[in-house]
Symmetry: C2
Subunit: 605 residues, 2 copies
Amino acid sequence: MPAYKAPLRDMRFLMNEVFDYPAHYAELSNGKDADPETVGAILEECAKFCQEVLSPLNLSGDDEGCHFSDNQVKTPKGFKEAYEQYVAGGWQGLSHPAEYGGQGLPMSLGLIKSEMMGTANWSFTMYPGLSLGAMNTIMQHASPELKNLYMPPLTEGRWTGTMCLTEPQCGTDLGQVKTRAEPQADGSYRITGTKIFISAGEHDFTDNIVHVVLARLPDAPPGTRGISLFIVPKVQVKADGSLGERNHVVCSAIEHKMGIKASATAVLNFEDSVGHMIAEPNKGLEAMFTFMNTARVGTAVQGIAHAELSYQGALAYAKERRSMRALSGKKEPEQVADALIYHADVRRMLLTQKAIAEGGRAMIYFAAQYSDHMTNSIVEGDQKKYKYWDDRLGFLTPILKGFLTEMGLEAANLGMQVFGGHGYIKEHGMEQIARDARIATLYEGTTGIQSLDLLGRKVLVMTRGKAVREFTGHIARFAMEQMGNSKVRGFATRLARLAAEWNVLTMRVMLAARKDRDAVGAASYHFLMYSGYVTMAYFWALQAAVAAKKLAEGGAEKKEFYKAKLYTAHFYFDHLLPRADGHATSITRPAKSLMKMPVDSFAFE
Amino acid sequence: MPAYKAPLRDMRFLMNEVFDYPAHYAELSNGKDADPETVGAILEECAKFCQEVLSPLNLSGDDEGCHFSDNQVKTPKGFKEAYEQYVAGGWQGLSHPAEYGGQGLPMSLGLIKSEMMGTANWSFTMYPGLSLGAMNTIMQHASPELKNLYMPPLTEGRWTGTMCLTEPQCGTDLGQVKTRAEPQADGSYRITGTKIFISAGEHDFTDNIVHVVLARLPDAPPGTRGISLFIVPKVQVKADGSLGERNHVVCSAIEHKMGIKASATAVLNFEDSVGHMIAEPNKGLEAMFTFMNTARVGTAVQGIAHAELSYQGALAYAKERRSMRALSGKKEPEQVADALIYHADVRRMLLTQKAIAEGGRAMIYFAAQYSDHMTNSIVEGDQKKYKYWDDRLGFLTPILKGFLTEMGLEAANLGMQVFGGHGYIKEHGMEQIARDARIATLYEGTTGIQSLDLLGRKVLVMTRGKAVREFTGHIARFAMEQMGNSKVRGFATRLARLAAEWNVLTMRVMLAARKDRDAVGAASYHFLMYSGYVTMAYFWALQAAVAAKKLAEGGAEKKEFYKAKLYTAHFYFDHLLPRADGHATSITRPAKSLMKMPVDSFAFE
């Protein structure tokens, strides 16, 4: 398993040189404490924890997996101790309010923390990650009493939380949820039903686990409009916050999965379990989705996490393993053969990984500022401002989640490929990265769901194309500004064309959808991937522009860093962006290529 | 795990309606026995064995894996018995000469047998598959004495064989092979060295294993021109063919791998092991490569095998799992939701799998006829004819192996994707298919090596573009013939343009390579994938043309089968072929986008 080294140089480049985080934080009402010095210290400290504590447990955690017996889960060796260090370091409450014991720093810092921790050990990071989802939901929707009871131990990490949505018969289609909630005389509810795929649903880290559960009231209307949201703690909580009786929540199994094996995925049986409603009756789904965009950006991080880790492993191997001679002549004449990194096709693979990791990181660090504005407007109680930023983040979210997790999987597979046959062997850890990365396109809404969310909901229904017009306006403006800059003119020209084409394609789907409602579904995946390639192209051109400026200013200490940004941008435009053309073509193909074949004609004996 | 059902209808369509196998077999000197009735009976019998014996062991074999202790391998439960049935059925010698106990049928039938068996259980099929490689090499290069000793038990399946090429320090770059061979007074050799990644290198199926080993004579020149080839049996063989003393060949470990876990991948230590030279001294690599094209087509089969099996699993699930309503209105109003197969994006995934499995099958069944001609000319001792067919097969081989294994991996991943989160859970078997499929782009020459073999060797060095001109000539002729056919005119027009473009791109790389030798390596992967997409387009258009003809003739019993071919061809041209455009663009980009970045600039701290 490659030992993780946090790419602090690249992170600082994005935060300080590309997106001006210091100015951004200075603008936020909860950003005053996030001065450059504090942020720098947090990054260093987090990197240290990831490199020294989390990274060494990644391969062993996969190898050992979680143990299940007597309805209990034992996490792999070292995980509980690592979690104790995580809690002691105050990492859980980094971006949550001081009144609950957090540090009250902006959301983006929490995201960057998750990126580092997730890259070092994604399985470990799932446990506190799910807590964050539960915390956000409780913080926003629960009564003051419930918040006072549950938020402090969650924020401090003394307890963890889960999100219980999926049931055996439904995941995507939550309208099919069957779990029931019976109101009791004392104002509480009794919850009965089975939830599956519950990450961190059971473990040995903490004394209590707070489940946030979707269920139906007895008189609830059918479908998605009849779902309510409940807190169901594993152990009941007394009015003074101390632990009471064990609740009837039983972990009846954990799943055997392809990867993220150190993360326990639980089947939870609720049987007359005591629960407390949060949010309005029958409005549970809306409440659950308040932070969906932020949560999905958190999952998008998985794409760059696995791309980065696999890249680090592949790069080290490509420098050290020697095979054949470079086509342009011996590069290491004193050696038996040239290192892999001198071969063009190995470079293509490495540069693909690098372009995905760094390009994706730029996309996420940009969106993270939207997320900061959004959470900040919640704190300020400014609904209008909240909507403004949530809309902007909402457009980017499916692109980030859908595109970056697909690309992360590709990058992880390329890391194996650089290792040749050795990539298939467990001890090198490269195949684990590919297995771990595989979940990312499936959970938190599959790529297909992200595609429909983007094209159907965010672009067509909600904004009739305006979301694309706005974002491409941003791109086009940048492109025009850069036309005079000889170092990036080529990128700018291409971007300007793509910004226009993106609108044309949106319009074409809109027109096609008037005649054939399947046109949206048929185009959605290609539209998502097209959007992803163009968005990443913009962020590569932006990084190139900043790098070119730094080089022009001269005197830069590390000129090579900026040059590498320009090389990688060229690679992206030459070797990855051209794929957008294929997707553009497919977007315009008639839906009947997909829809016409009768169900019975898919296979013949 | 999806229960495998052999797609006999599609196989018969290709053999009887598209490629006219009956006429082809009638032409071959060893094809007289392969009359349609015999072939039909073999297919049925093989399908039965695959469905009833091999398929049920696929998931359990993965789950259990191989056991290793005391230098011995125990295969998973049921595997040894399945192998006994395989031997009893006479399957091993299907395409090998009757004089050694085989059935003497054409090579293509053996390939189609491997396709079915490999789809049902790839891990199992690795054991007899490696034997075939050893048998081909021994049959072609060993002395009559060695052939008489080793070929009968191998052909009958009483023993198995291996190919021992890779060593810890080298796989691709066999010039680095270090294993030594010391000549002995009695004409034998003593072999010393370590070989790794030896599939079927140790197991409990048979009393003996015949290793075909690359090693160096004491006076051998360095590099690839100093490698010789030896038979090293696990147990020495007496002159009468009975087993003698145990040879010094020790299996010191088996690898822990991502997939194909029921296939033992051995580390073999040779220490003064008794070996017998086959082929000329120092010409071992050439000898080993005699059947490389055929072997690589055998690996290409893995692409369609995993695509087919994953498709069968995903299709069944898509018909039975219900989620949401179709965008164009309820399709199953009496159900809680519509089946997945009514959603456009799910159809995109299923049709991608189907297009890959059936398009790839067509490519392989076409190439298999070349393979028949090639092996037939060996039997006839016609070197000129051999070279003619080997050249043609040689051009297609890297396209088939490189492109189809990449596509097979994509298809296997899509099968998981159709299952949503359930795809990630072991019990459904979909994730196993993706893990098993992952090896295919790594072994028998990585995709990068296939790319260099295609563009560097087969297209540029060996034929200066003639290989492309010939194959595209074939395509263009077909396109012109079909211009008058309204059902396939669209495909024909597109194909005609692509046939021309393929030549232009070849020329452009050739010119670029004159100025910059890295141009070949930089373009190679994109050239391979481009070639794959265009080749598959041709075979889809061909299938569509045959289907359209059958429909026009009327009276076809199963009209829907032919219509499905036309639908799938439309899907391929609309949703997969457009990717070729992106590769075409990248082929023409300068090599410097890959080569210019200094090695030290790939990462900064």
